[in-house]
């Protein structure tokens, strides 16, 4: 089950739910008998203030160098010691002869009312801080404190109606994997704290506390503001992958050599990134990649459970393209099916999903739906350097139908006066041997191609790499694959077409020299691989790469090809990441 809220703090977390139940505080009015009793009540109030101050200062100290956290705690401390409020509470006790709890809650009610009508939403959000401090003071006065969080016996996702800022500040990132709340907004101190502590959070979910049971498994997607309750295996797999990549980001930026990728002999080489989610653009830019060589769009299926929505597509394409400007963004249309999740697609289980209903085969079967994506890409194309790429094109008539559909969409946009880039480049992925064999017939229809080495390898060698019994036969260095890459590049260049590689081979350090040697125009790799691939490019000369590529075409086995490259780079790049099979090379 999917819930949508406000993405408050970036990150992905997966874990069991821990429901935080909050008792309503009782602070009934009690009338005091004498002025003397009132003075004792005032003293009790002052003691509570000083106890809470002590608690907040302890939390502030525990925040260490989390700057925003300390600032927020200091703000809460100023609220706690506000002379105007405290004088008012004291005069309510003295003049009204009422108990401190009642005086605090009525005084704060007045303050919060004043806040809630403020025009500035940022100031309105501070009501939560007033409530937080007030609650702590009243808890001290009553002598009950929230113990619930102490019952957290394993790392969990906190589920609550709302979290107070000081409570959030006390959360331990290792123990609380994420939190989701019914209430809350983007600029509340609670969400700011979550961000500075690096705890993923989704807030403003309205009624999620009523829908979740203890120990339910939750996926918290703090990037999109989604919470998935008791996810399917596919959703889990997908999000685990996204989460792992997220954690690596910071470390990557540290390791990345600044500037463009340059070969040892000083030739700049186009190194782009494959992305899956829009927020990855930030990392891609920090790593100084030359563009997005593959923007996978399958995740859009997941976020639009109510069916295709042009606005969702458009906004995301637009945002990514604008953030990347002036660098190119190659958007690949839906590549559902195969091993990719099919959320929202009512396809049956197939005996051979990789040979089945997938990618443009589905798109051409549902032209209305597919047009929504095409229209959104075209509309976004005026705002950025966007190129469109169709996956899994195996038949030329298929390509013609795709281009006809694209023309139809273009005509529709023209007739309605909607701008799009008339010069937007259109390309295909080359990922089946069939496409390679008839590439000379295909090239006149397209502006560029990008080689998808994963599918090309598995279709060429007839190996399902997901099947452990045959996975060792899967080898992108197999002569059949290398020879096809050589053929593709030669053919493309003879027709002045651009050819990139966006399969995982492009991110294999040992493949990098070969691919440069074959003459591809671009390598596009997962953002996490950019630092290593960039380093690899830096230790290879174009001449040596060319020699290795030529030599590799007459080598009998993939392993021997890897050995060839390995012996060249090992002295120059000793910390090179090796494949699990490569121990045999050393």
């Amino acid at each position: 089950m999917l819930f949508k809220g406000i993405p408050a703090s970036h990150g992905i977390a997966i874990g069991p739910a821990f429901l935080l139940k909050v008792e309503e505080l009782r602070h009934a009015r009690r009338t005091l008998d004498s002025d003397h009793e009132a003075e004792l009540e005032v003293l009790r109030f002052q003691k509570a203030i000083s106890d809470v101050r002590h608690d907040l200062e302890n939390i502030a100290d525990s925040m260490g160098n989390v700057v925003e956290g300390r600032q927020i705690l200091e703000f809460l401390l100023l609220l706690l010691q506000d002379p105007t409020i405290n004088k008012e509470v004291e005069s309510r006790i003295r003049c009204g002869l009422v108990n401190a709890e009642y005086a605090v809650s009525t005084a704060l009610r007045g303050v919060m009312d004043k806040f809630e009508v403020m025009a500035d939403p940022y100031i309105r959000e501070r009501v939560a801080d007033v409530r937080d401090v007030g609650r702590r003071v009243i808890e001290k006065l009553i002598g009950t404190e929230k113990e619930a969080l102490k019952n957290l016996d394993q790392p969990a996702v906190l589920v609550a109606k709302d979290l107070d800022p000081s409570e959030t500040a006390g959360l331990k990132p290792g123990q609380v994997l994420a939190f989701v709340t019914d209430m809350g907004g983007r600029t509340s101190h609670t969400t700011i704290l979550a961000r500075s502590l690096g705890i993923p959070a989704v807030v403003g979910l309205q009624k999620i506390t009523a829908e979740i049971n203890p120990r339910d498994i939750l996926i918290v997607d703090g990037i999109h503001g989604h919470v998935i309750v008791n996810p399917t295996k596919k959703e889990l797999k997908y999000y685990r992958n996204v989460r792992n990549r997220f954690f690596e980001a910071e470390d990557l930026i540290q390791r990345n050599n600044p500037g463009p990728a340059v070969t040892e002999d000083g030739v700049e080489f186009e190194l782009a990134a494959n992305i899956e989610l829009p927020h990855e653009v930030e990392l891609v830019n920090k790593l100084e990649a030359d563009g997005i060589g593959l923007f996978r769009t399958e995740f859009l299926r997941l976020v639009q459970e109510k069916g295709e929505n042009e606005k969702d597509h458009y906004e995301i394409y637009n945002k990514v393209a604008v953030q990347m400007l002036p660098k190119p963004v190659i958007i690949r249309t839906y590549d559902m099916g195969g091993d990719k999740f099919r959320t929202g697609l009512d396809t049956d289980d197939e005996a051979n999903p990789f040979l089945g209903y997938r990618a443009v085969r589905i798109g051409l079967d549902r032209p209305e739906e597919f047009s929504i994506q095409l229209r959104a890409i075209l509309r976004a194309s005026v705002h950025g350097n966007i190129k469109l790429m169709f996956p899994m094109v195996t038949h030329i008539e298929q390509l013609r139908r795709l281009l006809d559909l694209l023309d139809l969409v273009k005509n529709d946009l023209r007739s309605r006066g909607v701008p799009f880039n008339e010069e937007m480049q259109v390309g295909i992925m080359v990922e089946t041997p069939a496409t390679v064999i008839v590439l000379d017939l295909i090239l006149p229809y397209v502006d560029f191609v990008s080689i998808g080495t994963n599918d090309l390898t598995q279709y060429t060698l007839a190996v399902d790499r997901g099947n452990p019994k045959v996975a060792d036969l899967y080898d992108s260095f197999h002569p059949a694959v290398l020879r096809q890459i050589d053929t593709i590049v030669k053919l493309c260049h003879s027709r002045d077409k651009w050819v990139g590689i966006c399969g995982s081979m492009a991110g294999d350090p040992l493949a990098v020299p070969l691919l440069i040697g074959f003459g591809v125009n671009e390598l596009s790799v997962a953002p996490t691989l950019i630092p290593d691939v960039k380093k690899m490019i830096g230790v290879v000369t174009t001449t040596a790469a060319r020699e290795m590529a030529v030599k590799s075409l007459s080598i009998e086995t993939g392993l021997r090809v890897r050995a060839l490259v390995h012996s060249y780079v090992v002295g120059k790049y000793p910390e090179i990441l090796l494949d699990e099979n490569d121990w045999r090379l050393t």
């Binding site: 100023l78 609220l79 002379p83 105007t84 004043k114 500035d120 100031i123």
Partner: protein
């Protein structure tokens, strides 16, 4: 009693963080210190007060103080406001 009129120079005006900076400066002094906008007059040592003043960028506010250290108090609080709180100016 000393008074000084200053203009709130930053774009966002006196929101939570600037309010905290003003209060932290004000509590250093023994004098009573006030902030006055065309709409309201508040205790400069009260975070609630300073925030509810909600002085937007460009507003004129009067800083006043009464007490033994009133002159330095007014100058110190006015300086914090004039600094723009380290934020983007109008």
């Amino acid at each position: 009693m000393v008074e000084l009129v200053v203009t709130v120079p930053n774009k966002l005006g006196i929101h939570a963080r600037p309010a905290a900076m003003i209060v932290r400066a004000a509590v250093e002094f023994d004098s009573e210190i006030w902030l006055e906008s065309p709409a309201d007059k508040v205790n400069a040592k009260s975070i609630m007060g300073v925030m509810t003043l909600a002085a937007s960028g460009g507003t004129s506010v009067t800083v006043s103080a009464a007490g033994d250290d009133e002159t330095t108090a007014v100058e110190a609080v006015a300086d914090v406001i004039k600094s723009g709180f380290g934020e983007e100016m109008i």
